[in-house]
């Protein structure tokens, strides 16, 4: 092979390396990439005894008991942006022969109420506990309110109580977070 032929061959090879291209692709699609995980996470649980609703020292009924916990992740800025929907699921198992009113009050760091929810719980019997299920679906503008909260106050109200009242009110709960990044 002579020089005149091999130089062009070399040139062609070099050109080949530098003319490589990317075809039939659309990188603007990167804008459309969305992670949409659905996360299931336990929330709160409790076991309230009937005796918790009666002050034996003063012989007075306690009609409302209340407790508060922080849920700091809720007002985290990245969750605020990515949370599209939250579905709370509460399951009460009641063996106290009373119905209950249970309220959930979401508060911001400055103790402003941002979101409220609540349900009534059917009365049970000590032999056959009654299950009450409650689902609270939060989406749209309500999500903005919910994600301003970083704590929740749980209030449990009994219509009447006495020292002979027996049984347990159990709550199990979880939240399904529909996220989009």
């Amino acid at each position: 092979m002579n020089k005149t032929l091999s130089l062009p061959i070399f040139a062609v090879c070099v050109c080949l390396f530098f003319t490589a291209c990317i075809q039939d692709t659309d990188f603007d699609q990167a804008e459309d990439i969305a992670l949409t995980p659905v996360v299931e996470l336990d929330l709160i649980y409790f076991n309230l005894r009937a005796s918790d609703f009666f002050d034996t020292i003063n012989s007075n009924p306690i009609l409302t008991v209340r407790d508060t916990t922080e849920i700091k992740f809720l007002d985290d800025s990245s969750l605020q942006e990515s949370l599209k929907r939250a579905e709370f699921y509460f399951r009460f198992t009641n063996s106290i022969p009373r119905s209950f009113q249970v309220d959930f009050q979401f508060l911001s760091e400055t103790n402003d109420t941002t979101y409220v929810s609540g349900t009534s719980v059917s009365e049970g019997t000590s032999t056959t506990p009654v299950i009450t299920e409650f689902v609270e679906n939060v989406e749209g503008d309500d999500i903005l309110q919910l994600t301003k909260a970083n704590k929740v106050v749980v209030s449990v109200t009994i219509p009447s109580s006495d020292e002979n009242l027996e049984g347990i009110l159990n709550l199990k709960s979880k939240t399904t977070y529909f996220l989009e990044y």
Partner: protein, 471 residues
Amino acid sequence: MRNFLTIILSLLGFIAISQNKQILYGLDDVPQSLMLNPGMKVTQKKHYGIPFLSQIHFNGGSSGVSVYDIFKDGNDNINDRITKKIFEMKNTDFFTATQQLELINFGWRAKNEIYFSGGIYQEFDFIAYFPRDMAILAWEGNRDYLNYEFDLGEISTTGDFMTVYHFGVNKQITDKLTVGARIKVYSSMFSYRSVNNAGTFVTTLGDENAENIYEHTVRNADVSVETSGYASLRELDGASQVTSEILGRAFFGGNLGVGVDLGFTYNISEALTLSASAQDVGAIFHSKDVETYRAHGDYTLNGINLVFPPLNQGESTFPYYNNLEDEIEREIPIDTLHNSYTQFRPVKINAGLSFGFGKFNSSGDCDCLNMGGGTLHKQNVGLQFYSILRPKGPQMAGTLFYHRRLTDYLSAKATYTVDSYSFSNVGLGVSADIGKFNVYIAADNLIKYSNLAKAKSVSLQLGFNIIIDEE
């Protein structure tokens, strides 16, 4: 997160592949082939690499997915494509990138017929295995995966940025046998690795006696990231300070290591030649500026247990949430350790069996290129084998090649390679001598060059040398 994903996906196929230089191996027209086998037959008398230009090497790849797979122009949704790929890919699929830049390379034949060579190059090497379970968890969440044990042990990645100083000797000791060795000193500028991780995460539906609806359980977790050269960078201010600090380590300022390359070439017969080499048999001893983060333990999360304590006016209840955070930190502590550690280099094995035919006599009567006494063949065909030791075991490649010396100043080598990436990798390398000036370029996956987006790997080496032949 989305930006990060985009960057990773965009890089697929463009950067570089996993260190296999199948075209350069055995290509005796190019002095840098001596870096792949210190025991190859050296045909020149002296060589000098043009500083900073004697070898520029990129190699990048992804065994499970190409850019085209994700970003192709089509009516279907890009998220559906990603979902499909996440489930198609296995936890042994990987992404790699390697880059090397020679600063100096030189060699000469001494009077005792030993060919000495040495130099300095900089290397960046990265590999990440596809953490399939973590990807599914991030992409889909845990709702549809109750009772499924997500494997935290799939996290496996290493990255290194170093300077390598090397010096080698090469000698033809009999008519048939040429051997060589190269000693290397590594100066690691930055290094991290997260390998040998373990543990599972599972969400199970609690039974009647469970405390809450679910149990979220982390079991036998042991996840660590070892870093060297990172801790001191955190305190620096701005990119320019970081850059100057890293470059300062290039000259023996980092963590040092030693290694060796060994190789031989054996002429089984006049036509048949066997060669093999092992590169980077060695280790780096990380003792300076070392920081290891390790999380380990077991934990089951049930949510927050409210106990409704009787409170007087103004009293606050238990700090349930902080207690929960403390409990998690206690059960799965994240420790920062400063233990030295030894990192073995990824050993690379190359071997070749070559059959030559047609006598090549470059300069008429005097066969000047061929001082060794053997025959330089006009054409060679053969097989090559390549293997690199990676965290999850060796990655291997097989190559068929055809090497032809076209004229005394031009030679070319074509390769067909089967590896983890594909069964259709055709490569081509060309080396040209213009006077004493040598230029070479080698690239693989040529079939995909018309659309690089479809390539799962790309490898490219090019460089410029001055070669002085025997007179």
